[in-house]
């Protein structure tokens, strides 16, 4: 090994090494760029922002699950708010009991405001932004997480 390092490189070897080296570097750079190929950019999924109807048809005290969504929308004295029903442990859908959310997969339990009570979940359930569309309907945006306690008052 030491001999290999101290001996002067022959002219012919040098050219060979330079050729292969240049090619290898160029290929590595190209391949590194191509790695992006695997990262999805087209998402054939439902829109994360959707309407759930006018506040008038959503009486105080009702808890609504928009059809096809994993979200609980609450209406209490403070206003409207949306809490994700996707368990923060491993992505199962939590079920609402009378005063808690319970995950069927590994038994994580959450308070009705999303906080973890027990189980392997490490994070509170997400709160999503609730707003109002120009046509007067309530809009839930799952792409926009908000701080716990953020309430929309209509």
């Amino acid at each position: 090994m030491s001999e290999m390092l101290t001996k002067p490189v022959k002219r012919r070897d040098f050219l060979g090494i330079v050729t292969i080296g240049t090619f290898a570097v160029a290929m590595a750079a190209a391949l590194a760029g191509i790695l992006r190929f695997f990262r999805p950019t087209v998402f054939s999924e439902l829109s994360k922002k959707y309407k759930i109807g006018k506040p008038g048809g959503f009486p105080l005290g009702e808890v609504r699950v928009p059809p096809g969504r994993s979200v609980y929308v609450f209406h209490d004295e403070s206003g409207f708010y949306a809490i994700s029903s996707r368990c923060t442990h491993l992505g199962c859908i939590v079920k609402r009991g009378h005063d808690e959310f319970l995950c069927p997969c590994h038994g994580s339990r959450f308070k009705l405001n999303g906080d973890v009570i027990s189980g392997a979940a490490t994070r509170a359930l997400d709160w999503y932004d609730v707003s109002m569309a120009p046509d007067g309907q309530l809009v839930v945006d799952e792409g926009k997480k908000v701080k716990k306690g953020t309430v929309f008052f209509a």
């Binding site: 695997f38 069927p104 997969c105 590994h106 027990s118 490490t122």
Partner: protein
């Protein structure tokens, strides 16, 4: 000028000349032609020409390697057939599985064979690893082949898991959802360190795995490609290396005094080299160590044809019969169509992942990534740390191995049962201290505590005996015991909401 008569003669000779050109040697009746048969054939030449009698002992190998291969062959055949009818799209997948099961002639049988083959392969590979470990067959020249074997183990699990999504039923959907979120679980750590905003390896892995944010069409297509194309190709490649290495490393591991242990050959089994004295078979490759032909006579080797081939064929037939019997007796299950809004309750993965699921129920990151990585790393390191000269190719042959194995099995079983009982009865950190810091809750969970206990036990054995091999035996046995108990708990005693039940008929029925 060839006359018409010679033309007729030539035509008559075609069958025999064709056979001659195909095989290039006479019928395999002498040692010489048998050797030629093995040596000149692409498919047979991965075998040695002659094989040591020690390697043919069925109590040494239990045929587990061949059984893994046999299941892979049957899985490939049935898999290709299933692909004729299976349609990898979220709309059609479930119905096409139903078609295969209920309409396609012999479709149900194919699907059952594929399913039981997958189970048999996982069991065979797992047991094969255990047998190689407990017969100390991973040492010196065979170290790298142990690593290849480990790769094959991981690939086998990946193959079986990617296949799990394809039916697109409730079990499939929720098992993959859980798996994808395990892949995302490094986010628990990055969240606790508040760096997820700019460094999120968990989220990246999940989206790359699923081709999206949720389990959907793209996930199904990716899993289908992995299951049907990429993983089978890669595993075939590694299997080739694995087999090639066995030969190049001097055949299966056997003790140095194997010849004395076997005793004299029975009458009539003396190798006969007299039939073709013009040419003796030579060393066909550079083989290290005490191979049959280095410095020793070939007395204890027998021609691979027919001895090794009979043995392999026997194992192949046994594997086939096992699958056949299971396929005829028990149908592969199919649950309701996948429903992304309502999880299965309980949502259980296939049995060989349930030990992992039990760990995951304590902590997603440590159970799904931390502990498995530690275990795989440990398995990888074993042959590079344990370099002791102990007898190879014999079960529990080293000094004290039997007693350490028994002790470690008892210790491993006891500690995993105690920890699980404790957790089930009294809960864990967050139940006592709701405000506990995230990082501690992730890192200190029953699974990681168990791993730590096992490591300490192994270190204790190592310090007591001064033997690295015994330390390795201790931790390997402990992990096997832990895997067994966790699997049994998850299979039998976990019900809805992952609560503990003594028996499934105690589950609440609504």
């Amino acid at each position: 000028m060839a006359s018409f008569k010679t033309f007729i003669e030539d035509v008559k000779r075609v069958p025999s000349e064709f056979m001659e050109s195909l095989f290039r040697h006479g019928p395999p009746e002498t040692d010489r032609t048998r050797s030629e048969a093995v040596f000149h054939n692409l498919f047979l030449h991965i075998h040695p020409v002659r094989v040591h009698r020690w390697s043919l002992k069925s109590t040494l190998t239990l045929g587990l390697g061949v059984m893994s291969t046999a299941s892979f062959v049957i899985l490939t055949a049935t898999g290709i057939l299933l692909m004729l009818y299976y349609k990898p799209s979220t709309i059609l997948a479930y119905d096409s599985i139903k078609d295969i099961h209920f309409v396609v002639p012999t479709g149900r049988f194919m699907r059952n064979m594929h399913r039981w083959g997958a189970h048999l392969m996982v069991i065979a590979v797992l047991f094969h690893m255990a047998r190689v470990f407990f017969t100390a067959s991973y040492k010196s020249a065979r170290r790298f082949n142990w690593v290849i074997g480990l790769m094959l183990f991981i690939l086998t699990l990946m193959l079986s898991f990617t296949g799990y999504l394809l039916p697109w039923d409730q079990v499939a959907y929720w098992a993959i959802t859980i798996c994808a979120n395990i892949a995302q679980s490094p986010r628990e750590l990055t969240d606790a360190l508040h760096i997820t905003g700019f460094f999120d390896p968990g989220g990246l892995t999940k989206t790359i795995l699923l081709g999206g944010n949720e389990v959907g069409e793209d996930a199904l297509i990716r899993f289908n490609m992995l299951h049907c194309i990429l993983l089978p190709l890669v595993i075939s490649f590694f299997m080739g290396i694995h087999f090639w290495r066995i030969r190049k490393d001097g055949g299966l591991a056997r003790p140095e005094d194997a010849d004395d242990k076997l005793g004299p050959l029975p009458d009539g089994e003396k190798p006969d080299f007299t039939q073709a004295p013009q040419k003796t078979y030579g060393l066909m490759a550079f083989v290290r160590g005490s191979s049959p032909v280095v410095g020793k006579g070939p007395e204890h080797t027998v021609p691979a044809w027919p001895h090794l081939f009979y043995a392999e064929l026997a194992v192949f037939m046994i594997s086939f019969v096992i699958m056949l019997a299971l396929s005829l007796l028990m149908d592969a299950p199919l649950k309701e169509l996948a429903n992304p809004l309502v999880p299965e309750n309980p949502a259980k993965a296939p049995w060989y992942f349930l030990g992992l699921q039990e760990l995951v129920s304590h902590s997603a990151f440590m159970g799904g990534i931390g502990v498995p990585v530690i275990a795989l790393l440990g398995l990888f390191l074993i042959p590079y740390l344990d370099k002791e000269k102990t007898p190879e190719g014999i079960w529990f042959a080293g000094k004290g191995e039997k007693s350490v194995t028994v002790k470690s099995a008892v210790f491993g079983l006891t500690s995993v049962i105690l920890i699980e009982m404790f957790t089930i009865r009294f809960g864990w950190l967050r139940d006592w201290m709701p405000g506990i810091p995230q990082l501690i809750a992730i890192l200190v969970n029953p699974g990681s505590v168990l791993t730590l206990i096992y490591m300490l036990w192994s270190i204790r054995i190592f310090r007591q005996t001064g033997s690295m091999r015994l330390g390795a035996v201790a931790i390997f046995t402990c992990f096997l015991a832990g895997f067994l108990v966790l699997t049994v708990i998850a299979v039998q005693f976990r019900g809805p909401n992952w609560d503990f039940y003594w028996w499934p008929n105690l589950w609440p029925n609504h």
